[in-house]
Symmetry: C2
Subunit: 248 residues, 2 copies
């Protein structure tokens, strides 16, 4: 986690995977300078759409701050979220035409972007960037598959607990508080968005949230604030196999 010196923007790019994960891990300065040239930042407001599923999507990038979702909608309106993008997550499909999913900001969002063409060129010229991207894509694939278990086999209560523990864990990592027994964070999703993630209705989400509150597993502070008293309790509620893995 380091400050970028893009003074016009004053953004702390704790996230940028290319710089932080792919490049910094090897620190080759010529790549850094190439990346600086094609890099730019974009801001979105809560609720705004970043790209539509069939837009050309001429960039790739990663989330610096805020939360975005990837979702897919059937013609009759049923929608399913297929990915949750938290700070440090990468978006984009190098070598692919369209976006394939709707990308929506669910809170105010800052993204660090690279124009796609030059990024792809850079990728073919710089072997370990492709390797890093493969690495990251494998992580996403693991997360997606883990999520298939949630969608296919868990009860409503377990689904909610799974979602909360994933988000809590992710923020714990970002804030380096991983060993804490309790956790608190702002849940940047509406009940409807949670429902779309979990394959439930918003009423069921609401009822299960109330139930978890009622028996003391979580505390709701205002509309979005969530306090988890005891992470291990929550993880147990999630019915988690494989110790809860490292979803999303």
């Amino acid at each position: 986690m380091h400050k970028l010196k893009t003074p016009e923007l004053h953004v702390e790019c704790s996230a940028c995977p290319i710089r932080h994960r792919a490049v910094c891990s090897r620190c080759e300065s010529d790549e850094l300078s190439q990346l600086e040239e094609i890099k730019y930042y974009r801001n979105f407001q809560a609720g705004q759409t970043v790209v539509w599923s069939d837009d050309p999507m001429d960039f790739v990038g990663s989330v610096v701050s805020g939360v975005a979702t990837l979702s897919q909608t059937m013609e009759d309106g049923r929608t399913q979220m297929v990915g949750l993008l938290l700070p440090s997550d990468f978006v984009g499909r190098p070598g692919r035409r369209g976006a394939a999913y709707d990308v929506t900001a669910t809170s105010d969002l800052v993204m660090c972007c690279f124009r796609k063409k030059p990024f792809e060129k850079l990728m073919t010229e710089t072997p370990h960037i492709a390797q890093r991207l493969l690495e990251m894509t494998l992580d996403e694939l693991d997360a997606a598959r883990e999520w298939m278990v949630v969608l296919g086999r868990k009860t409503a209560r377990e689904k909610i607990a799974s979602l909360l523990s994933i988000i809590a864990r992710r923020y714990a990592v970002l804030e380096d508080r991983q060993s804490a027994r309790s956790a608190s964070f702002d849940l940047p999703l509406t009940r409807e968005a949670m429902a779309d993630y979990l394959g439930l209705t918003l009423e069921t989400v609401s009822r299960q949230m109330s139930a978890l509150k009622r028996d003391g597993t979580i505390i709701l502070e205002g509309k979005r604030g969530i306090v988890v008293r005891d992470m291990s309790r929550l993880i147990e509620e999630a019915g988690d196999d494989s110790d809860g893995g490292f979803l999303v």
Copy 2:
């Protein structure tokens, strides 16, 4: 699709992605010879486990013929399939420790394998292999996400229709009969395996199969043979968004 000259085995490797997709697409002979050295074939019988989810998994490879599944099981026994491996699909996680999922042969299976260490070495030395693998992993990710929609938002009938049309489409591609109006194939999965894929019970799967048969969408020939009268009808039953995409 070309014959391999590995005479000891007499296998037609229509599948091997490294050779066929990554290498053949560029045909660089030095790589071919390197690959030949670390390549070997493995046969499995129907029902046999290829690797357990926490096994070290010292190889990567691809399916030459037959069908395998990737699945995950919760401690209480609920299981969810997270991937279906048909001929030409790649298995393995270069740069990863374990297998992460149970891999099981659901029919007699031939795999073309590469020992992992040398394969990884080759990968770092040969940029476009990493790129090809990234490509393939992105495809898998798309398939997994498409499947999340099926699991999260489709009805039992739509789920069955989705599964059948995915498999039909995959075999159509393999056999190069893509434009055919009808399709027929052996469904190499038990009702239980289908249920595990679809997040249903085997009874529900059986009932929905009977229903699809009853109203003439499919014909069952013996226990495993399936004939689809009219693919477009089946795809419609699948409730498919995005024209049915290119799942799995």
